[in-house]
Symmetry: D2
Subunit: 302 residues, 4 copies
């Protein structure tokens, strides 16, 4: 089991009129990830609306804040109990057997134009034997060909751009890997977390984006940037791509500061908490149930 | 009340190996649209899996078919009971009050890159008074500036392309209108149906794509191509854009023929069925309940 | 020596007002390509303006035609005396020694966005030993990864699109090869001709586009589509990409028909004319003088 | 007459191997712009090759420099004798009469994809009366709809991007205006200079990019950013777009610093030198001869 303590501090300066925010900074609650404790504080007397998206367990918080400085501080302790699997046992799922709720993750999305990459992906990966190792090959390909460079992309940058430009930040790596997986009919999705374990020369802790791929009967985590070990990845938002799970979507006129983030892992084997490390096993924190919630609807005759 | 009878015939020639299909050709069942009768036939002894996406009522059918000719024939009779509203009474909904389940339709998607069009849309429409008439202005702008030309776009064409190229087919008109609405924070989504009432010179009846915009407490229909009257639009698929609700997604090697479609409206006022016509009122067939299913989750403190 | 006889027939139906055309259909006259005879006829009493671009020997013809049918027929017999070189002797030219008039062909152009492909091209080809074989590797890479499909691209399609989509026609193959060469600092340009020797299943003879790359002291021909032998390529227009040397640029309202083209090679060894064939040697028809016309201006101190 | 004194200082830190540069920082010598004096110094004993492109008078300098710091300092005094014309007298030139050497400036180029903007530009400007005022309308449209923001674009940004994003720096404004002019068949080109007269809040003096449009028998200057008065614009490079006339094209591994630039105008009416100011007249510094050098080749029968 992994226990992570983290804190997120966001700071905005809102201009004349009240502004609306949709945040996605809460740790998700899933069968594999327990939120042991959490706290949320603001410097304004706001009344946040909270909403959990049932399909993904993403927790959204909508807030209206008044002009002036607006501070949001969220802290949580989460326990992650990874499902571990030997890669050799993880097969790709034939389209005919992909759960209905998983199927949409084969389709293209804003930043992952898998429809345009079908030929490209098939030429690169179509001849590889389906299964975990093919996904790993896509992961390695993205990692090898893309240079991690802060500030090299922006909020409009898509997988096609990253494939051509071969430079980006974590979300760009994730988008490219997702688009290539989908282009060979492997369901893949976008998850946000925190870059626990990233080398300090990349800067202070920050939000992170990684990839989940559906293999066997679960979603398994991959980090194509290679800067973190998947074992240390907390789940915040889960969606088709960054358009679904921005940590903050802002409506109104404001100035935003870079988020301040702290994260630490417990190193207390006696209590059952081990430090995240690189693992030869495939790791999943998706609920078995989530993946199969649609199964009940399938297979019948409606 | 409007009663529509329609038939869809699809034809494929599948090459050597079995092929998978995900169809979205069933009429949706909503509080406003009753499926009076329907029939589905194949020329192969297939076993379709049917799945209803709870959030949108879109009905997907997954089928595996054998090599050779594959025919799908779906026929249905639907009754549509429109909710009608005076445009003057339809307000835009402030972000703080948009139901949580509606909020995702403000975000960009594969073919509707509203994130890139924020400045553009605000310059064109930001100064207009919010409400139905602003949406109508966006509708008119798209219709006026875009030339309907068969074959002028392809499955990769997006709203940004259509804005620049000023040419497209129904899905391009819809994507551009949706992207511009979202760019000024108005929730908008993509619906598929059949082009009942389209001028014969545009060719035989075909699948159609139109737009729904969330105003007041419901989704209202708009057809920026202007080739149909919204009153004659049956609802098949509902999604963020064409990536969600293709009438057929194909996996495998095959040749596909153009769909053959017939549609007719009952003209039987005595029985309560009137022909679809252009209406000065805003029309909605979305369930009140659908729009508010998320409301239960909002407003509380989780 | 190769002797080619060819005829080009163009047909337009001009609407109400007179229309202007800029044609580039004349065979170029260079030290290596002699125009033995040529004829030009119209069905209207037009007065063409002819202009030879000194730097490239491209011959442009501007014509104003009246409403109604407009026919242009150009026929020519050209003799091509190829400069032949052993590939092993052809070196890339260091930037410091590229003639000033050749240098612009290292820069990006409308359809060859080499600026965007620098990382990509360097990863694929940067480690290869400079020289003819590196260019051949780029040629092979484009040919292997791109599927020739009529109608798969349009007049806006660029090298970046073709790299992603992996499909195109001759101009797309040429643009991609040119862009990749420039991206590793090898001067490359676009030439138009006729697809002598193309397999009949690709359709009747048509205009063709191919590539010239500057190696040693000359421009050498490459056809990345592989459908012709470079020895059978007549030179019509020479430019940075298709934007420079369209066979017809039209101004006005009209309908255009597909060009009708005939081409044949003389097979008369006694007279010194041999049929074009695939050759292991590198072939050049560029004037030594053209390449070095700028040399006189360089090297001095102005 | 306007006399401008300016100095350009460029600084690079070249890594391990010698690097090549192609600079375009010399003031052009034209019939209207005399280079009264100039000086060029380096901190390395380099041997620059200088080349004047005959068609545009752009002066290119190629230099190979050794590892370590590399400084280039160019200073010049230029006298500009503007040709002035009343806008009302400036007509657009029908395609049939555009000089052959001017015609290429109607075609699309790397950053000015006028081919894609034909419908868009015709809808916006096609109905306006041809002539200077139509060009001014395009100028005003670009200026009104585009926000000048440092750092908002990069070296890949094109006119289509700027039209959509509505933000950019001087080269983006220029590219968009050029593309729109060409899309309605008005020859337009890209000129580099220095932003004399720009408001200090935009930062220290910098290279600038502006537009020349061919009207009547000459090229007239426009600055769609509105930050300078065209009267104060020195001509350095002239080309189809920024791809032709980068102030520095670098080959090799290095770090470059922001250029340091000084510019001043003489205020000595007694000597005939007046300060640049905004003028209601159209201003041209293009050589009559340049524009017509091709005329000799036209109109004949070759």
């Amino acid at each position: 089991m992994v226990r992570l303590d983290f804190t997120i501090e966001l700071k905005y300066e809102i201009a004349e009129a009240p502004a609306d925010f949709v945040f996605n900074i809460h740790a998700a609650r899933t069968a594999s990830q327990a939120v042991v404790s959490e706290s949320l504080t603001f410097n304004q007397p706001v009344e946040p609306d909270l909403y959990v998206e049932p399909a993904t367990a993403s927790r959204f918080m909508r807030v209206r804040a008044e002009p002036g400085e607006f501070l949001v501080r969220y802290a949580a302790t989460v326990d992650i109990d990874h499902h571990r699997e030997s890669p050799a046992r993880l097969a790709e799922v034939p389209i005919a057997q992909v759960p209905a709720t998983v199927l949409p993750y084969v389709y293209p999305s804003r930043y992952c134009q898998s429809d345009r990459l079908r030929r490209y992906a098939n030429r690169e990966f179509g001849h590889l034997r389906p299964g975990y190792w093919r996904v790993q090959a896509i992961h390695d390909w993205v990692r090898l060909r893309t240079v991690f460079t802060s500030g090299s992309s922006n909020s409009h940058t898509s997988a096609v751009d990253t494939l051509i430009d071969q430079v980006g930040v974590c979300r760009d790596f994730a988008h490219l890997m997702i688009a290539l997986c989908r282009a060979v009919n492997i369901p893949a999705r976008f998850v946000t977390g925190i870059d626990y374990g990233a080398p300090p020369e990349l800067g202070p802790p920050d939000f992170h984006a990684y990839v989940e791929v559906y293999l066997g009967t679960r979603w398994y985590a991959f980090d194509p940037t290679g800067i973190t070990a998947p074992m240390g990845l907390v789940r915040i938002g889960t969606g088709r791509d960054a358009a679904d799970v921005a940590f903050a979507t802002m409506f109104g006129s404001m100035r935003s500061h870079a988020p301040l983030i702290w994260i630490a892992a417990r190193d207390d084997p006696a209590a059952g908490f081990t430090l995240p490390s690189h693992s030869a096993e495939a790791l999943s924190t998706s609920d078995e149930g989530l993946a199969c919630s649609g199964c009940d609807n399938m297979g019948g005759r409606e």
